[in-house]
């Protein structure tokens, strides 16, 4: 299987501050690849360097056989990549529909049809296309940001911490959406803090430490890796087993009303 995205020995940083020190990674077509790692490991910087919003100082980025190293963002979009930043990822004073139109700025035809396809999966957004993005909830914004990025039918979607500000229920929905996007034939390279859930849906994962790849393996293997578990997955429970239920109880507000209901019956 030849790689869709081939990143080789990329170095990047801001001015004199070097953050990414020679990272190499690959993403195959229709694959979910997750990058995890502690804060400051260079995860977001790496995504920016790949997409060209930050010019790599060394190394190369090859997308579908074409060397796209340091290309400006609008050319990356034409080359078939799309990027969803972590924050400020919608245009607040534009409507939902206008946000999607901006995603399709480089598209000459089929804009309305593509918009319909994407909105069909998000009834919340479809119901009121004229609503300003500034009035949407966190989860709706994230969904809109993903739809915006998908307007041009990219083959590769880069996503920076999509679940950062979401409740566990919304998180679950979003990961399901990411799987659905993958199933539609889009490869996804994602940076995630909720490493356990992200790795569970990932084909492969990379652990970044200090701007370098520390571990690279399949998603399943990383979940089972005791070192990785101790360092990145064990915020609630250092033991890798029996981890699924206990994360929800403390912070999940949205599901709690349902439970007393069950009890009274």
């Amino acid at each position: 299987m030849s790689a869709l995205l081939e990143v080789t020995e990329v170095h990047a940083g801001y001015g004199d501050v070097k953050i990414v020190h020679g990272i190499s990674l690959q993403v195959a077509p229709s694959e979910i690849v997750t990058i995890i790692g502690p804060n400051g490991a260079g995860k977001s910087t790496l995504l920016k360097a790949i997409f060209g919003t930050l010019r790599p100082t060394r190394g190369s980025v090859v997308l579908d056989g074409a060397d796209v190293t340091g290309w400006p963002a609008h050319r990356m979009v034409q080359a078939g990549a799309a990027f969803v930043p972590q924050t400020n990822n919608v245009f607040p004073s534009l409507s939902i529909k206008e946000n999607l139109e901006m995603g399709a700025f480089r598209r000459a035809s089929g804009v309305a049809q593509r918009m319909e396809e994407l909105l069909a999966q998000f009834p919340d957004l479809a119901r009121r296309p004229g609503e300003l993005a500034s009035r949407l909830s966190g989860g709706q914004r994230q969904a809109l940001a993903m739809c915006r990025a998908l307007m041009l039918d990219p083959r590769l979607l880069l996503v920076d911490e999509p679940t950062a500000a979401l409740s566990p229920v919304m998180r679950e929905q979003l990961f399901a959406q990411i799987e659905a996007i993958r199933d539609s034939g889009v490869a996804i390279l994602m940076v995630e803090q909720n490493a356990r859930e992200a790795l569970a849906i990932s084909d492969r994962g990379y652990v970044l430490v200090n701007g370098q790849v520390a571990v690279e393996d399949s998603g399943r293997a990383l979940l089972d890796n005791p070192d990785v578990g101790r360092m990145f997955l064990g915020r609630m429970d250092p033991d890798v087993t029996g981890d699924t239920g206990d994360t929800g109880g403390t912070e999940d507000v949205e599901t709690t009303p349902a439970e007393p209901d069950e009890g009274t019956r």
Binding site: F51, V77, F83, P85, F91, S93, M102
Partner: protein, 300 residues
Amino acid sequence: MDFVQLAIVGLLVGSVVGLGAMGLTLSFGIMKFANFSHGDMMTLGMFLAFAVVGNMGLAGPQMAPLSIPVGLIAGVVFAAAGVALLAAGVDRVVYRRLRRRGSATITMAIASLGIAIMLRAAIQLTWGPLPARYSTGINPAWRLPGDLLIKPDQVLIIGLTLVLAVALYLIMYRTRLGKAMRATADNAELADIAGIDTERIRLATWMIAGALIAVAGVMFAVQAQLRFDAGFEFLLPMFAATILGGIGNPWGALVGGLVVGISQETSTYWIPSGFKAGVPFMILIVMLLTRPRGLFGSTF
């Protein structure tokens, strides 16, 4: 003078200020810096139209009941195109370089002040320090009920401002370019990521702002004299209108311009007219202290 008559004069002044402020607020919202050369771009617009009707002698007959000659139609088109190209050219040569270096917005604002001084000096060198006029045609006023007077020229100015405001609205909300301009004002980095070539959007913004301010300059000069510093004197009222309406908000700027113009002119009902130029100052200071985001909200 009668208060209502003063308000009519204010409406006229406000139309010119509002027309200019629409372009100023547009460039402010998208470039994120205050363009201090906007006033001198206005003067350039006045004189480019004069180049057609005066220097080239293409005035032609007067268009009664207006005082202006037929040739001024060509003049205003020439002025709008000329100032639009100049504004885009300055962006290419000056502001874009600063942007690429990651210069602070204050650096760009100071650069625009330099452009302003250069522009004013170039206009003075080219057309001289003496005042000029588009035409010597007379423009008898219409008498409205209540003994109010309004000149046909003035009706044209107010009408043209409204037409251009509607045109700008349609561009901003109905066209792909306008939506991309609003997106770039919201978040230029995201606009880039979405695939919008924001450098082209910036050029288009400068051209629209330049064309609008050129028309404002010609409209002003239709019923006043052309002077090399005439536009500069509009700079402060235009900034007051921009702040009043909320930076980046063209409709706010138009309303702000009308408020500034009307309050400036009607103030002479109570205070000596020599002090009226201080009114926009007062509005600016009060707004910055109380509602810095403007009456209608800012995209800044």
